[in-house]
């Protein structure tokens, strides 16, 4: 075992990058859940985003266009979920699962001829001399644009939910859809928009994995990140900044176990690879005592009678 082979600065920088897909997916799901909808299809939307982004990026040669396509792909898939739960009034748990199963199949179908191809490289954000500052440079300023976009989305979500009328309406719909409906808000329309936002974010998160983290396409490559993102929303008590904290924690663990694998620690690789999932369970156990923060109408179907 050689722990000195792990460079702490690079490790922290890598942890931030590892946290980004979880962060993006979780912040999207947070908005969906604050609107009172439980979408268990995050994994399916992520993997669809991953494959859409990959295909478009390879064909256009531009990672940026790839990311846009990934967001669209995730959103289109989430539209299916929106149709099932908002129009056909189907059970949200079952619909979410269906979305994940479907998304996993669809993505491997779409990605068949893209296995083993290298996507175009995403450039680091040109922040000029800032990136050359020792220690802080590589950690804070050395990332690609998506890392900062992820942070921007978190900040934006927080501000919109807390300070704007739109955020207030969204939260009202999530807390008590009957009351919101009585006040004249279009519950289904608002929820559909929230679901679309969640889908787009999950798609971006997925593309971050296939275009930057790995970067190549393999079937089922999101490997449960979507589910971890769902757990993260509970962990964060439905608060945006806590999602950030949680994503860094989980990203950190994922990256750390990868580095430990690389450093040849005496623990078998399989047991190290289990750790992010086990940590998720432990965190869920610790935080489940307090359920009071969950949106009041979470997971309930809304149908305006009469």
């Amino acid at each position: 075992m050689d722990l000195s082979s792990i460079n702490p600065i690079l490790l922290i920088a890598a942890m931030i990058a590892a946290a980004t897909p979880i962060l993006l997916a979780a912040i999207g799901e947070l908005v969906v859940e604050r609107a009172g909808v439980l979408n268990l299809g995050v994994e399916g939307m992520m993997i669809t985003g991953a494959v859409c982004g990959f295909i478009i990026a390879v064909n256009t040669g531009s990672p940026t266009v790839g990311f846009i396509a990934a967001a669209i792909g995730g959103a289109v898939l989430s539209l299916l979920f929106a149709f099932l739960t908002q129009v056909a009034l189907a059970n949200q748990v079952a619909s979410g699962l269906a979305l994940t199963l479907f998304g996993l199949g669809l993505s491997s179908l779409m990605g068949q001829s893209y296995v083993g191809i290298k996507p175009p490289r995403a450039e680091a954000t040109p922040l000029g001399p800032l990136a050359d500052i020792p220690v802080i440079g590589p950690i804070v300023f050395g990332h690609d644009l998506m890392v900062y976009l992820g942070l921007g989305i978190v900040a934006g979500t927080w501000a919109v939910l807390k300070f704007t009328r739109m955020g207030l309406v969204l939260r009202a719909v999530g807390e008590n859809h009957d009351a919101a409906h009585a006040l004249g808000y279009k519950v289904k329309r608002i929820r559909t928009l929230a679901i679309l936002f969640g889908g787009a974010c999950a798609g971006l998160g997925g593309a971050y994995i296939s275009l930057i983290r790995v970067p190549q396409w393999t079937e089922g490559m999101t490997a449960g990140v979507g589910w971890i993102a769902l757990a993260l929303v509970v962990f964060a008590s439905w608060k945006p900044w806590r999602v950030l904290l949680g994503a860094y924690l989980f990203g950190g663990i994922t990256q750390l176990q990868l580095n430990l694998q690389g450093a040849g620690v005496a623990i078998p690789v399989e047991y190290l690879a289990m750790s992010p999932y086990i940590v998720t369970i432990i965190v869920l156990v610790i935080l489940s005592a307090d359920k009071s923060r969950a949106p009041g109408s979470l997971g309930r179907t809304f149908h305006a009678s009469g």
């Binding site: 299916l80 699962l97 068949q112 449960g224 757990a231």
Partner: protein, 360 residues
């Protein structure tokens, strides 16, 4: 103006018609998908649904129906009990893997001793393994209120890593020339889950599935516990007032579905699969979710749904070798089925009304 209105009573006709309609719609849209992939849609559909049953080599494929259907039915029966009560065990795949590891482990521990007691012991170990794995989300939910969906799903990934570790380490065949994977149980007569009647595909897993179906049917229609499950799903508050202990129900439903999934894994590893290997699991635990819904969470419906889903697996394999249809296309096909089913379900509980909304 078209609007939908809640039915006073769920429609019984629609409850039976929607799965059939969903299958028909899936065939149509599946055909479109296959056409988009450059295959002849009619031929593809015929290959998937006709060839295994009545084609030239049907004698070979028909037994496969039982072999592939048994684990699906076994797992789906357990899942349906929980789904009926609003308890969502999504981690059957993990319980299936752990059941297989425990079952195979129990058998291999006695290698090469021959005894009639070994196979029953393996069955017991497999059932206990699956049960114990499902007890983790169950106990956490009862004790701490943890979400069972997320915990059971996380445990699938843990079980997959465990499977990899077992096939590379503890259970690795010492005479396997360094290749990953355990000894082949098919070559160990005491542990082999052989066909009961040769050439039919009828192995002990099929028997277990039939027993589970009867057991679940009696439980749901004739037993107090089954009543408690149904009431909890349909009216949780009423169930509480009626004296149903929700914690005990969670333990029972998750435990039972884990046990059945563990059994399915054990029968699979001792029979059709033969050995513990890294890619032992093929997603039966997830497909069983579709089976449970397609079967209307009803034991008899699940048998029909399980056989249909087994058919798509077998037909998918044939279509893959004959028409070059990608394996993933079948996965999409199965996912589509669940979508249509969920979308059409609206007609069971709601009806479509045309005309202007009357102001009360």
């Amino acid at each position: 103006m078209i609007r939908i209105e809640a039915r006073p009573q769920p429609s019984a006709v629609m409850a039976y018609a929607t799965p059939v309609l969903a299958v028909v719609l899936t065939m149509i849209f599946g055909g479109v998908l296959f056409a988009a992939l450059g295959k002849d849609p009619l031929q593809a559909i015929a290959t998937i649904f006709w060839e295994p049953l009545f084609g030239e080599f049907a004698f070979f494929y028909r037994p496969q129906l039982l072999i592939k259907g048994a684990p699906l039915v076994l797992i789906a029966i357990g899942l349906a009990l929980g789904f009926r009560a609003g308890i969502w065990n999504i981690g059957a795949e993990g319980q299936y893997i752990v059941g297989a590891i425990c079952g195979a482990g129990a058998g291999l521990a006695f290698y090469p001793t021959e005894s009639v007691l070994i196979f029953p012991l393996m069955v017991l170990a497999g059932a206990l393994g699956g049960w114990a794995w499902a007890m983790i989300p169950a106990v956490l939910k009862v004790k701490f209120g943890t979400n069972e969906i997320l915990v059971s799903l996380m445990l699938v990934y843990v079980a997959e890593q465990l499977l990899a570790s077992m096939s590379l380490g503890l259970l690795k065949n010492p005479e396997g020339f360094g290749f990953p994977g355990s000894r082949n149980l098919q070559q160990y007569p005491s542990a082999h889950n052989a066909e009961i009647i040769s050439g039919t595909g009828m192995h002990w897993g099929v028997v277990a599935a039939l027993i589970a179906v009867i057991f679940a049917y009696v439980l749901l229609t004739r037993h107090r516990l089954g009543f408690a499950i149904r009431v909890t799903g349909e009216a949780p508050r009423a169930a509480k007032f009626g004296g149903v202990n929700p914690g005990r129900l969670v333990l029972f439903c998750l435990g039972m579905s884990g046990l059945l999934a563990g059994l399915a894994g054990m029968f699979e590893v001792a029979g059709p699969a033969g050995q513990i290997s890294i890619d032992f699991n093929v997603g039966y635990g997830f497909t069983a979710i579709i089976v449970a819904f397609l079967g209307r969470l009803n034991p008899l419906g699940i048998v029909a749904a399980g056989l249909l889903m087994a058919l798509t697996y077998i037909g998918g394999d044939i279509a893959q070798s004959q028409l070059g249809l990608p394996a993933a296309a079948i996965q999409v096909f199965q996912g589509m089925l669940l979508f249509f089913l969920l979308a059409l379900d609206v007609m069971t509980n709601y009806r479509v009304r045309f005309g202007r909304v009357e102001v009360a």
